[in-house]
């Protein structure tokens, strides 16, 4: 199995949860730390990921390769940047417009997180496409990929909430995420890996 893709998926799983958890810290000065603020964040993340899965799956139909896969990471890093740079100004702007903290936090989450999280969501189905060798093992492959990426999410959650917020400032953690995503993307672009189908074809030739 392509370990590059697995590592990439693990890092993406980690990054998604890091951003999601810090979302609470971004919004609480404006909308409080209540359950509806978390409700807003999780709603937008779930919505964005669902769209991302759809788009990522579609994208994987057209000549899938690890270069394009790397581009998704680069775009994810780029679309996360405005969130890091302007989250305070954007939250403040929404706070001015909407009095109800429920809808205020929902709209802010939408503005801040919808686009980057959608891009991040595209990675999962695209990874499946890059890993699957044949129809029979596709379920197992997809299962293993979910295992790896969700494990990344679990680690991202605990690391962020237990340690990263104690060691670093909020924006620095977010910058860290964008740098890591960009680096991962560059590696995927610079060191392309063939699809498993091609490997299989080579094997049958021998």
């Amino acid at each position: 199995m392509n370990s590059l893709v697995l590592i990439c998926a693990f890092i993406m799983g980690f990054s998604i949860m890091t951003v999601e958890l810090l979302g609470g810290k971004i919004l609480s000065p404006y909308f409080g730390g209540s359950v509806y603020v978390w409700g807003s964040i999780i709603t937008i993340f779930m919505l964005a990921l669902s769209i991302g899965y759809l788009v990522g799956g579609k994208l994987s139909l057209k000549e899938p390769n690890t270069r394009k896969y790397g581009v998704i990471f680069i775009v994810a890093a780029i679309t996360t940047l405005p969130l890091v740079i302007w989250h305070a100004e954007l939250s403040d702007w929404v706070f001015m417009q909407i009095e109800d903290p429920r809808y205020g936090s929902l709209v802010t989450s939408l503005i801040l997180f919808l686009v980057p999280t959608t891009i991040m969501g595209m990675v999962a189905p695209y990874s499946v496409r890059l890993l699957v060798a044949n129809a029979e093992s596709s379920g197992q492959t997809a299962g293993f990929l979910y295992f790896v990426s969700t494990l990344g999410s679990a680690l991202g959650t605990i690391m962020t909430s237990f340690y990263l917020v104690l060691w670093f400032e909020l924006d620095n953690i977010l910058y860290g995420v964008t740098v890591v995503l960009a680096l991962v993307g560059l590696v995927a672009i610079l060191f392309p890996k063939p699809l498993p189908k091609a490997e299989k074809a080579e094997l049958s030739h021998e």
Binding site: K25, S28, P29, F31, G32, S34, E99, V165, L166, F168
Partner: protein, 306 residues
């Protein structure tokens, strides 16, 4: 915020009798849960125990887990040392017109402030609707009358809105923490700057906070950065609580405070407050590590530093 019990002599004697009695009666019959209700944030328990009615967020009975307590027979008599420290606010205030309380809890302090300053407008903020309900039901809290308002919402959200509406206060009490959990967005430099912005010139902010753990240094330095000089009020025999007093102008001198402490002595003694003892507990000393990292909206792991 945890609170340690403190009693006057006659309270101690009556407590002793109760304790003695309790040795003869099975332990389970001591504390009675009058009501329990799950809120959006916690389980709220009203407990009748040894002549006290207390609000707790945990079922297990430990004195230091009580959020609010009153004596059943003498509700005006303050139970916690922290309440007495907070009555020290009277030394700093000159006939305040507008008072803001962030963290109503059982409303014990608000009730006393209402009595001391009958003409003041008092706005109380409580995030937990169930806590506000219990304050009314068990702790004689009421906001009837045009002077009084209660808002159920996040303290910081209220403060940001109040700033936009150009509201200003003579006195702001910050009392939103309990011993289990600190709302981290309400212990940052940015938050304190917002609260400072709500003060009238020469207004006073009083905060009920922690006197132990690593957080003490971070928090003290955060106040120091925003306000410059600060007074701390802290009884030597008390471990967990202290009160911080700050202003947007120069704080009154000790001489002036002593004059006020003498003036308020007869008025506050029915509450069990020895104003001279409270005065002695006031310190302007820098007793924290000034190199401690300031808490900001960027760095606020208050619950991890606790």
């Amino acid at each position: 915020m945890s609170k340690t019990l403190s009693f006057s002599k006659y309270k101690i004697i009556s407590l002793f009798a109760l304790l003695l009695g309790s040795l003869l009666i099975p332990a389970t019959s001591q504390a009675k849960i009058l009501e329990e209700k799950r809120s959006l944030y916690q389980n709220v328990y009203i407990i009748d125990d040894m002549g006290l009615t207390c609000m707790r967020f945990r079922k297990k009975s430990h004195n230091d887990l009580s959020q609010s307590c009153i004596f059943n027979d003498t509700p005006e008599y303050l139970v916690f040392d922290y309440y007495k420290l907070a009555m020290g606010a009277t030394f700093f205030l000159e006939d305040p017109k507008d008072m803001l309380i962030i963290g109503l809890g059982g409303g014990v302090l608000v009730n006393r402030y209402k009595e001391v300053y009958p003409k003041a407008n008092i706005t109380s903020i409580e995030i937990d609707d169930v806590v506000a309900q219990m304050a009314r039901k068990y702790f004689n809290y009421t906001d009837e009358g045009e002077q009084y308002e209660t808002h159920v919402r996040d303290g910081r959200v209220f403060i940001k809105r109040a700033l936009r509406k150009d509201k200003r206060y003579d006195f702001i009490l910050l009392d939103a923490f309990n011993s289990d959990y600190i709302p981290e967005h309400m212990m940052t430099k940015e938050y304190l700057e917002e609260v400072k912005g709500l003060l009238k010139p020469g207004g006073i902010i009083m905060a009920n906070t922690f006197s132990s753990s690593a957080l003490f240094h971070h928090e003290s330095e955060t106040y120091h950065q925003v306000f410059g000089e600060l007074y701390q009020i802290h009884f030597d025999d008390e471990k967990t609580n202290r009160v911080i007093v700050v202003s947007n102008e120069k704080l009154p001198s000790k001489e002036k405070l002593l004059k006020k402490a003498n003036e308020y002595k007869p008025l506050l003694s029915p509450y069990g407050v020895d104003t001279l003892k409270v005065f002695d507990a006031i310190s302007g000393e820098v007793n924290w590590d000034t190199d401690a990292k300031v808490l900001t909206d960027q760095y606020s792991p208050a619950n991890l530093l606790k």
